[in-house]
Symmetry: C2
């Protein structure tokens, strides 16, 4: 069966700095009409940098939407036409000063497909060398180094709710454990 | 250091059916001002039902934001003041007809904390009995039963990008494997 919803009309609601919101009228499979409220976002990357001691370089920053600070892996928005891997290299360097010899793609993430169009690209960064962080203007964050196994336990114990961070931690842990077993 | 961003003013952009969008001016830690574009959503639940054969009852539905159909675990929005577990029981029954003897809370998920305020509550549902699905009006979806280990491989291989589904699959697999080992 074909579940495609065909666009009848699209109304612009808000063209903001980081999002485009529109409300569309669509034709449902049974022929009836329905409304869809959609947020479009340029997408971004998240990078989990794991050093030679098994520590993850995390960032703690204030998240206004939740009125609290949050522990996350380094991440950032894609510039127009930017390659996700280039964006990962840039954001990792900006937020932590780290450069990585090796990047492993951990997959895409659709944060909330019911109403958001946003794609996040996740990477594992290893073989790290240290340099100077250089944050964007208006960006305030604090770098914290936490063992990957401790972050893994936090995710399993509902202590790390940020989707990209939780997903990167679980995938990195499973992948690195598998690599160790193969050696 | 205190990274709190204090609200100076808040402007309503859009009060839709499923989201409230506002643009706020905030005071940053260094005293300068910045804008924050925020989407507020009522939040929801996602339930991963695993039957006695180790199969997960998934739903495939069209996601207009991505213009494609997507494989997901049963999920839905919270009604005002609804308890997340009650919502999980309701959505599982509506979308699949299943009732579960046991629910295990798998943690919260913040899909995109940079600009969204939405909280998802994840549950594992086991000891299932079958009944009749009864979809909401305008809801079209197809139930598919897929082995949990197969879904796990799909997540690790970038084949299941929906955040709530990927997170529920990884956590359910890890938890059920642990339970089996303890027996």
């Amino acid at each position: 069966m074909d579940y495609t919803e065909k666009t009848i009309s699209s109304e612009e609601i808000f063209r903001g700095r980081i999002m485009y919101v529109h409300r569309d009228t669509v034709r449902l499979p049974d022929g009836s009409a329905a409304e869809r409220e959609i947020v479009e976002h340029p997408g971004g990357v998240a990078v989990i940098p794991v050093d030679e001691n098994g520590d993850v370089w995390c960032v703690r920053q204030y998240r206004y939407a939740y009125a609290t600070d949050m522990l996350e892996v380094p991440a950032g928005k894609l510039e127009p036409d930017e390659d996700p891997l280039e964006c990962a290299v840039r954001e990792l360097s900006e937020e932590t000063g780290l450069r990585a010899e090796n990047y492993t793609f951990l997959g895409k993430l659709y944060p909330s497909p019911g109403y958001c169009r946003e794609t996040l690209y996740l990477y594992l960064a290893t073989d790290l060398t240290r340099g100077e962080a250089h944050l964007d203007e208006g960006e305030f964050l604090h770098v914290e180094r936490i063992p990957l196994c401790e972050l893994f336990a936090m995710v399993m114990d509902d202590g790390l709710p940020d989707a990209k961070t939780a997903m990167a931690v679980l995938k990195a842990k499973l992948l690195l454990d598998e690599r160790t077993e193969k050696q």
